[in-house]
Amino acid sequence: MVEALVIRAEISELTRVYDWAEALGRQLDVPQSTLFAIQLCFEEALSNIARFGFADGENEVPRNTDVRLTVEPRGDTIVATIEDHGVAFDPLVAAAPVRPTAISEVPLGGRGIHLMRQFTRTLEYERRNGMNRLTLCFVCTEQAPGRSVA
């Protein structure tokens, strides 16, 4: 069973995504920590798509800003996908953030991809037919999920 949602690549859509995931979580009886991870990763990915996915400024033709999200339970995991028509961007090649040593030097941003890596079991990317496709796998667990902190 695959549940899908199509939104616009806009920050204002994040609430709708959060609520949709919340409802799905109840429907699928997803553990709270797993739901948290799903909502976190959705927010991080969608924020990046909304802020950077269409910022190349070179395309004067109206772009398709639809973003398609899917959620599918598979055994003891939840598999989610995020597809968008934005500029090609592979989050897997982004460098891990440098752990700050002083509050004065801490950048305000740049943590979203790292959070996605740490809160998923697996994170996969592909570019096909002009679309970015991110596939996220979450383990259904009551504990705060993801991999060990780097």
Binding site: I11, L14, T15, Y18, D19, Q32, S33, F36, A37, Q39, L40, E43, E44, S47, P97, R99, P100, T101, A102, I103, S104, V106, L108, G109, R111, G112, H114, L115, Q118, F119, Q143, A144, G146, V149
Partner: protein, 114 residues
């Protein structure tokens, strides 16, 4: 539209005898992205995260902005009682190495008072 309230209780601690403080301000952040950085003009700030059920990088940005402002004044900020999931976000991003996280109010007062 359902609102996901992220309630941040910001307590300005002047002394241990001040708790609960006579003066504190409550900032709320909902999905409309209202944002208020804690701290203002104060130097000792406890940010109570007990009622914060969700925190992503946007929320971390707000916390960092407050911490930077407080740091410039030579003050301290401490994060109090985050939930396990919220705390994992903070530790994953290394924020816990810069801003103390405690789960006890007395400990929080002790941190900002030192």
């Amino acid at each position: 539209m359902s609102q996901h309230l992220v309630a941040i209780l910001v307590a300005v601690v002047h002394s241990q005898a001040d708790w609960p403080p006579a003066q504190f301000r409550r900032t709320g952040r909902n999905r409309d992205r209202k944002r208020a950085a804690p701290g203002g003009s104060q130097r000792k700030v406890i940010v109570d995260l007990e009622q914060v059920s969700f925190l992503a990088s946007m929320g971390i940005r707000t916390i960092i902005m407050g911490a930077k402002a407080i740091n410039l004044k030579g003050g301290r900020m401490v994060l109090l009682r985050p939930t396990p999931d919220v705390e994992k976000v903070l530790t994953t991003t290394g924020i816990d190495t810069l801003i103390s996280i405690v789960h006890d109010l007395d400990a929080a007062i002790g941190v900002v008072s030192n």
